[in-house]
């Protein structure tokens, strides 16, 4: 077997054959592609393969090491889950776009140089937007366009920064870069967009809830985690990231509490979880980097599971708004159960995946003496249980019975959720399997009595706070509404100020135009008037008046001459 063949092409080229196949053959083929690619990865040796010479530069299409392999594995698991989850969908465009998008994300993960990375980076944007447009509604179309612009801009920053970095260092290799040079700083902005840094984040909440029920599951797995991968590769130990991540972990949870669209709540909680990973990369110790990538691995699975459960609700009821749902556990008991597993995992309950991954980042922060960061992350841990762990299952499946009676989710959706739930529990119960493939060897032990007791305290009392606030009626009800976020600046403020400017310019043009017009007309009229008989220009003047004026001039001259 040649390791030179880029694993990404198995999915990307494989996707091209999808439209040619029909029925169950197509279904089997879709399932086989990620399985084949996974087998390929298992057999791949470490090293730099697929080297191509281009314009005097060496491009590395397959850089296989522990970091890229870990993301490759989990991306392929997510691809398989999303294929199973979407088996009932008869939309060829979505099937092809999902596979190409997953393939490009995997290609970017294995890219050993900046050019290859950039190409795959932009291709993920172009292929993923199809999953948003596939909703085929006006609002999805506009949200997709905004998403595409933001994603392509991210690529432009990456390209500009990459080229500056190349000129400064003479190397296109994608390794540790740092923010000391302009090129490194620009690349960080590009990667920051994908990681949803504060103020660069809102494409996530804007676009993901607009995609199809199955599309959001695919979207949730790749783009942001590709950002985290790139961050871990290029900026480990960059102190600024600790503060960015701390902020990211905290502010979205306030939004999540008051947001009505439950898929948007999940998008906010995604932002919050990415914050933990960014902090981990920023701390940069072996434990912290291990924690960041392990948490990315776990997050892909439990976030996919949560989005799958909400997608099933959307498919069956036509809405995921907290204000319209409630009591669905009666109609969709299995979906409810799987959703609770996802909720327990993201909330880091002992025996679920989040517990064994997030705690590595918390420990790294505490060991580093980062008190503020640690306290904020602990606040965010309580908050994530509150808004994702409780709010999502509670308002969708319990709460007051909204009277909706529907069928349970289709079997393929349940199967995908079951596999994801099994993986979430599997990682939580047997963390050694995940720890064994982390970038650094680790002896971290998540299951100490102290850790289990304190984590349970945190979670139980967060739940009690929710219950007390609910029973006293203080908890804000779910309302049909939207909440302003940073997208307001480009969706409302920027167009409004552009309109204002263009109106001002038009008014100025109008006013200026009429002023100039009026003046010109008057000069022309005057000139025409003076050219007529008796006009000043054509009048004949007596000689005497000229003599008079000459005399006046001479007199004036004399006066000036003697006075000086």
């Amino acid at each position: 077997m040649s390791a030179d063949f880029p694993v990404a092409l198995i999915l990307i080229l494989g996707a091209l054959a999808v439209p040619l196949l029909r029925g169950s053959v197509r279904a089997v083929y879709l399932l086989l592609l990620p399985v084949a690619a996974f087998a390929w990865l298992l057999a791949a040796p470490h090293g730099a393969f697929g080297q191509v010479q281009l314009l005097g530069q060496t491009l590395v299409l397959m850089r296989v090491d522990r970091l890229s392999l870990l993301f490759g594995y989990v991306f392929l698991i997510a691809t398989l889950l999303s294929v199973i989850y979407a088996l009932h969908v008869k939309d060829t465009m979505q099937q092809v776009a999902s596979l190409v998008y997953a393939g490009c994300a995997i290609g970017a993960v294995f890219a050993g140089d900046l050019i290859t990375l950039f190409i795959y980076w932009e291709l993920t944007a172009v292929s993923s937007v199809l999953l948003i447009w596939a909703s085929r509604s006006n609002s999805a179309s506009r949200a997709g366009t905004r998403y595409l612009v933001v994603q392509l801009l991210s690529g432009m920053f990456l390209l500009a920064g990459g080229l500056l970095h190349w000129r400064a260092t003479g190397s296109l290799a994608f390794g540790p870069i740092g923010i000391d040079s302009l090129g490194g700083a620009l690349m960080l902005i590009g990667i920051g967009v994908k990681c949803a840094f504060p103020l660069l984040h809102n494409w996530l909440q804007d676009a993901y809830p607009e995609a199809t029920p199955t599309g959001t599951v695919v979207l949730s797995a790749f783009t942001t985690k590709l950002g985290i991968y790139a961050l871990a590769r290029a900026y480990p130990g960059t102190e600024m990231l600790i503060w960015i991540g701390t902020l990211m972990a905290a502010f979205p949870i306030f939004y999540a509490v008051i947001e009505n669209d439950l898929r948007r709540v999940l998008a906010y909680s995604m932002n919050n979880q990415l914050g933990f990973m960014v902090v981990g990369v920023g701390i940069g110790t072996e434990l912290a980097i291990n924690g960041a990538v392990a948490h990315a691995f776990a997050d892909i699975l439990f976030k996919a599971l949560l989005f799958m459960s909400m997608g099933a609700v959307l498919l069956r009821t036509g809405t995921v708004k907290g204000s319209e749902l409630g009591g669905l556990y009666k109609s969709m008991p299995w979906t409810t159960g799987f959703c609770i597993v996802g909720a327990a995992s993201i909330s880091a309950f002992p025996l679920f995946s989040g517990f064994v991954t997030k705690s590595m980042i918390m420990s790294a922060a505490a060991d580093g003496g980062l008190l503020t960061t640690w306290l904020v992350l602990l606040f965010a841990s309580a908050g994530v249980f509150h808004h994702a762990g409780i709010k999502i299952p509670y308002f969708a499946f319990f709460s007051h019975d909204a009277g909706i009676r529907c069928n349970e989710a289709p079997r393929n959706m349940l199967a995908a959720m079951a596999v994801a739930a099994a993986l979430c529990i599997g990682i939580g119960v047997y963390p050694g399997a995940l720890y064994a493939i982390l970038p650094y060897a680790t002896s971290y032990e998540p299951y100490t009595t102290g850790h289990v007791v304190t984590q349970l305290q945190l979670l139980v009392f967060s739940a009690l706070a929710f219950a007390v606030l609910m029973r006293t009626g203080i908890y804000p009800p779910e309302l049909r509404s939207v909440n302003l976020d940073s997208d307001w600046f480009y969706r409302v403020a920027a167009p409004a100020s552009a309109r204002l400017c263009s109106r001002a310019i038009a008014a100025l043009q109008h006013a200026g135009g009429s002023l100039v017009d009026g003046l010109t007309r008057r000069i022309i009229e005057r000139a025409q008037h003076e050219r007529k008989p008796q006009g000043w220009l054509v009048r004949s003047r007596p000689t005497g008046s000229m003599t008079l004026w000459v005399m006046i001039m001479l007199l004036g001259y004399l006066v000036l001459y003697y006075s000086s």
Binding site: I258, F379, Q457, F461, L464, R480, R491
Partner: protein, 82 residues
């Protein structure tokens, strides 16, 4: 689809029972904390029941602040479509 079955959670006394049970578990966990020796890198965290208090008040503050944020941030659902 018609569904006339009655569910255990539909009865409010059962919900109240769950609620009280949760308090019991919480109190038990804090009591357990007295007997567990923990090694915390952050001094404040070694206080008995620190995580319980922090979790409870973090969530109350979170909700109260978020509720106030609604006054500033909330708009009608069709805000962007108008």
């Amino acid at each position: 689809m018609k569904d006339d079955r009655s569910y255990w959670l539909d009865r409010s006394e059962n919900v109240t029972m769950l609620y009280r049970g949760l308090w019991l578990i919480g109190v038990a966990l804090v009591a357990l904390d007295l007997f567990v020796s923990r090694h915390e890198s952050i001094d404040a965290a070694s206080v008995t029941g620190f995580y319980a208090g922090y979790g409870f008040f973090a969530c109350v503050i979170l909700v109260l602040v978020a509720k106030q944020l609604r006054r500033v941030l909330m708009r009608p659902e069709d805000y962007y479509e108008r």
